[in-house]
Assembly symmetry: C2
Homo-oligomer: 207 residues x 2
Amino acid sequence: MDQDLARPREFDEGVALEAAMQRFWADGYASTSVRDLGDAMGLGQASVYNAFGDKRTLFTQCLDRYLDANMRSRIARVESTLPPRQAIEAFLSEIVERSMESRLGCLLANAALEVAPHDTDIADVVAERMAELESFFRRCVIAGRKDGSISPDADPADAAQLFLTTVMGLRVLARGYPKRAVLEGAVRQALSVLGKPRRKPNPSTRT
Amino acid sequence: MDQDLARPREFDEGVALEAAMQRFWADGYASTSVRDLGDAMGLGQASVYNAFGDKRTLFTQCLDRYLDANMRSRIARVESTLPPRQAIEAFLSEIVERSMESRLGCLLANAALEVAPHDTDIADVVAERMAELESFFRRCVIAGRKDGSISPDADPADAAQLFLTTVMGLRVLARGYPKRAVLEGAVRQALSVLGKPRRKPNPSTRT
DNA sequence: GATGTTTTATAGCGTCCGCTTCAATACAAC
DNA sequence: GTTGTATTGAAGCGGACGCTATAAAACATC
């Protein structure tokens, strides 16, 4: 591709991708033109196509970037620093906070509704990542039942599916019904399915 | 407008609106052109503009039609024919069934994500209807607590907010992660917040 | 049948779309 | 400094966009 014997890029790929992602996130796939993206990135169209391929390819890169920065890294952070029940609580609470801050919702949810039905490749990515989120919740519920912070009455599969659904629902409300009390009430009630802990979570269970 | 002294319409407005609604529902606002809508309705562009105004106005009419046919009428039906707890259960179960049948999701949710952020009028409609759905659930929870079918431990406001969030989440999953087991698990877990009934619901409580 | 009004089909307006071409440019290698 | 390659800005491709202007067509009224 670039074989170090030529004119170097005048921009940082990461910064540019971030700017493009923000535009897709705010305006959606169809409503964002390649000219818009170029403006946001500070690039001409030729540079956009040269560096990132066509519009669809650029979108997949933005989606990947979004998911790494806003989902996987968050999962990894809460799962590695908090006991399981608190990991779930923190994850959902953060979504409420972010939703009230920006009202952008979630690029994954936006992509699921707007793009996935007409693009099987993106549909596959969307489904994979939702499965990833679901299994994060399921791991937490299982671990929480083991350490006593989550009631053994809670079914890990069902609870994980409810949390996944709740996350997506919150993101829709963020754009269409952005009332803090509603989001907080939904999260409070969703978390209630975890029941009362048998004993305090043991911090040494996880590092 | 039409003062009965002229050439009559060659089409049925309701049928045409229904066809347009289906297109918006399937493809989204931005990705559906007025030519597409005309084709789906069997009309030329001139007729579309003459009968329904511009694209945005047509969309609002489609959204209204969708909400009347797919939300309000459903609320009215389950609320008038079922006791409160079963009304909630039926409403959510129907959404799962519809989601597995068509995978179109919900035009209200689609509009909330794609259109509402850039159109305050539509944002108002979206928020109103979500509030309507929320209060339907709240009414049911309150009535169910009264007739004993729903545990008094369930907070009506929180539960209604969770159900609203769940509905929107289910619609996202319908498009992005359409697995029956996931939707059913989420609904099962959401319904669990209603607790065990103190006594069987009394069918004579409602007509 | 003549008149008046609305709907219809056709054509076209200006604009923006995704994407490409192309020459000028900037750098590494030698 | 020359050469070779990748990047850049400018211009433009064909086509689709939302919307409208126009005139023929279809009916109720008289």
